[in-house]
């Protein structure tokens, strides 16, 4: 059941939220004591000296929501003595925050579920925001699920669009593998929580003139209170570090390439462009490329400047992961393939035939430019 059963139910009934809710006897009215909840918060995720870009992407979205509501935006920073939380706060203002809530404690050095859940829950209970946004990362999802359960409020995962309807957060997300979109609201509980995947929202513009203030709070835990110990952090080898989500150019292999060997043609073009290689679900399931390269609903969300899809049909679950790309180029033998409905440039032809020629064309063009630079 969970979220997935509900869209079908709602669609079948063709009923609005109020009607559905009315029949079930559950309240959709916000209780009086929750009406004091004000403001939009963003949990600022950082690890080993780096803020995750998704936090700034969310800050841009939070600013838009807060402006519609006429409220303020706050960043939430939890961390240990070695974390430069004040510096991160300054960045948060530049991206749109008015305030930052800061909680520093030795037990918050390195992410662990238990102290972070307590810290964020305490901050919410103390300062009462109406909306709380987190990145849909391994940290954000771990924390969001825990905090929402502890607070007994609604959480919508992996949103692709956030808006305000009335005074409530309207969080839109793909459902049924991206075949449909549904808008989910938390009407009678606060805060309204949502996570968004990296790269779903655009990076907001920096405004260096902005500043804000810091509100601190104590965690009130000591190490012996916490059962789980962080023994080590083992960074990924750089060779395994596939940064698909933030790549400027992606060349993606689809099932139309027919076999694993033909993926070499995609690698060749990617090398010439300094691009990352992506894959469809069918390609990773067939084992032609690593699972980390999958773009789409069950893979990564990407928004490169240039996305070249070779032998990709454009199934909806793939589309939801890449349609925000600036320029989409599709190569497919089938002129009726769905990908041509949302690509900017299409080549109807065999990818195995087109890719080597396209690679050669880019190589010769770029080589000339590079020589000029040198």
């Amino acid at each position: 059941m969970s979220d997935a059963a509900k869209p079908a139910m709602a669609a079948a009934a063709a009923a609005g939220a109020a009607k559905t809710a009315g029949r079930s006897g559950r309240s959709t009215e916000l209780p009086e004591h929750l009406k004091v909840y004000k403001g939009v918060w963003v949990f600022i995720e950082h690890d080993r000296g780096q803020v995750h870009s998704v936090s700034w992407e969310l800050m841009g979205e939070a600013r838009k929501l807060a402006d519609k509501l006429g409220v303020e935006v706050s960043g939430v920073l939890l961390g240990g003595p070695a974390d430069k939380l004040e510096d991160y706060a300054k960045e948060a203002y530049v991206y749109g925050a008015d305030h930052c809530y800061l909680m520093r404690d030795p037990v918050l050095q390195g992410y662990r579920n238990e102290p972070f859940t307590k810290g964020l829950t305490d901050l919410v209970n103390q300062h009462q925001p109406e909306i709380l946004l987190l990145g849909a990362t391994t940290m954000g999802r771990d924390l969001a699920g825990s905090v929402a359960t502890t607070l007994g409020t609604g959480l919508t995962a992996d949103c692709t669009e956030l808006n305000i309807d009335g005074r409530a957060l309207a969080a839109t997300r793909p459902t049924f593998g991206g075949s449909l979109l549904c808008t989910i609201m938390t009407l009678a509980y606060r805060p309204q929580m949502a996570t968004m995947r990296p790269r779903t929202a655009a990076m907001p513009a920096r405004d260096e003139s902005r500043s804000g203030d810091i509100i601190t709070m104590e965690l009130g835990m000591i190490e012996t209170d916490i059962v789980t110990k962080l023994l080590a952090f083992i960074p990924d080898a750089t060779s395994n570090n596939i940064n698909l989500a933030y790549a400027d150019i992606i060349v993606t292999a689809g099932k139309g390439l027919k076999n694993a060997d033909n993926c070499k043609l995609v690698w060749d073009l990617a090398r010439v462009l300094g691009a990352e290689v992506g894959a469809t679900r069918a390609v990773t399931q067939a084992g032609w490329l690593e699972a980390e390269r999958q773009v789409g609903q069950t893979g990564k969300t990407v928004r490169p400047k240039l996305y070249i899809a070779a032998g990709v049909s454009g199934a909806i679950q793939h589309r939801v992961g890449m349609e925000a790309s600036d320029v989409i180029v599709a190569i497919n033998t089938d002129p009726n393939a769905p990908i041509f409905d949302f690509a900017h440039h299409g080549i109807v032809g065999n990818a195995m035939q087109v890719l080597p020629v396209l690679t050669a064309a880019f190589r010769s063009h770029l080589d000339k430019r590079i020589r000029k630079v040198a």
């Binding site: 559905t20 391994t138 699920g145 825990s146 995962a157 075949s179 962080l230 023994l231 699972a291 035939q353």
Partner: protein, 283 residues
């Protein structure tokens, strides 16, 4: 060792189609399967059972036909299975689902103490990854999400060391039993069902628990009533208004022209892209 593995029966999303006019899911003929992510949890649980002995109890909330999914898990080697099924659960979101499953786990725990609960990373239909953390918080047990490897289990000392996927690396964490683990995909490979287990799966009794059997008294916490989230709208993704600018490769003679034309179009309409690409390649 007593392990509970939570699974969900889901429609095979690869085969789902949307009705073009009504925008409703066409479920007819779409097979129901065990959520593929849950199989990694089950295999890991079975490996621990192989190593330490004990039992693996399957737990599922869903309609009566979800029994098939549980039988499938028994055929892989799970000891027994409980289906929590009640009309009162209908319309549950993740918060209400974790409430019901937690009640059932408490009941199982009372029968025989549970050391570990496993769930998959997320489901393929809801994709929320929220039920696992929800259960852990409600039980007050340690939560370990996105676990890629179980390094060590010490049953006597009641400790557990795992590797957990994080951004840019893995965390090695040590905690105590009982804990809840959400297992990352691709971490193991599901074993083949043995003939004995397949036969056992066919004839075994799947226990069916109503909300009362699961010990749920507060009906405001389950089903639609216990769900803070409300689906206000369901719709199909919008098509882009402008179709792709198309070129066709004919008998092969004009491939070069088509490619050069495409390159020119990309770089003239996005001059910064060309500049940045040259910069990146020169660096």
């Amino acid at each position: 060792m007593h392990i509970v593995v939570c699974i969900k029966q889901v429609p095979d999303s690869a085969q789902i189609r949307v009705h073009p006019v009504t925008n409703t899911i066409m479920r007819q003929g779409v097979p129901a399967i065990v959520n593929p992510y849950d199989l990694f949890a089950l295999e890991e649980a079975l490996r621990l059972k192989d190593q330490f002995g004990g039992r693996v109890t399957m737990l599922c909330m869903g309609p009566p036909q979800a029994e098939d999914a549980l039988r499938k898990c028994i055929s892989f080697g799970a000891t027994d299975a409980i289906l929590v099924t009640d009309r009162a659960f209908a319309g549950a979101d993740t918060l209400a689902t974790s409430y019901a499953l937690t009640a059932a786990i408490r009941k199982i725990h009372a029968e025989q103490a549970v050391d570990l609960v496993f769930t998959g990373k997320q489901t393929i239909d809801g994709d929320t990854a929220q039920v696992g953390p929800g259960i852990a918080k409600r039980l007050g047990w340690n939560l370990l999400t996105y676990v890629s490897k179980i390094n060590e289990v010490d049953l006597d000392g009641k400790t557990l060391t795992v590797e957990r996927r994080a951004e840019g690396g893995v965390q090695r964490l040590q905690t105590t039993l009982p804990s809840l683990i959400t297992m990352l995909e691709g971490t193991n490979e599901m074993r083949f069902a043995t003939m004995d287990d397949m036969l056992r799966a066919g004839r075994c009794q799947i226990r069916k628990w109503s909300k009362d059997d699961a010990g749920i008294e507060d009906i405001t916490k389950i089903g639609l009533k216990g769900s803070p989230t409300i689906v206000s709208k369901v719709f199909a993704p919008k098509a882009r208004s402008v179709r792709a600018e198309m070129q066709e490769v004919g008998d092969g003679t004009n491939v070069n022209d088509v490619c050069l034309n495409l390159l020119q179009k990309i770089f003239t309409t996005h001059p910064t892209l060309e500049h940045e690409t040259v910069e990146r390649l020169s660096a």
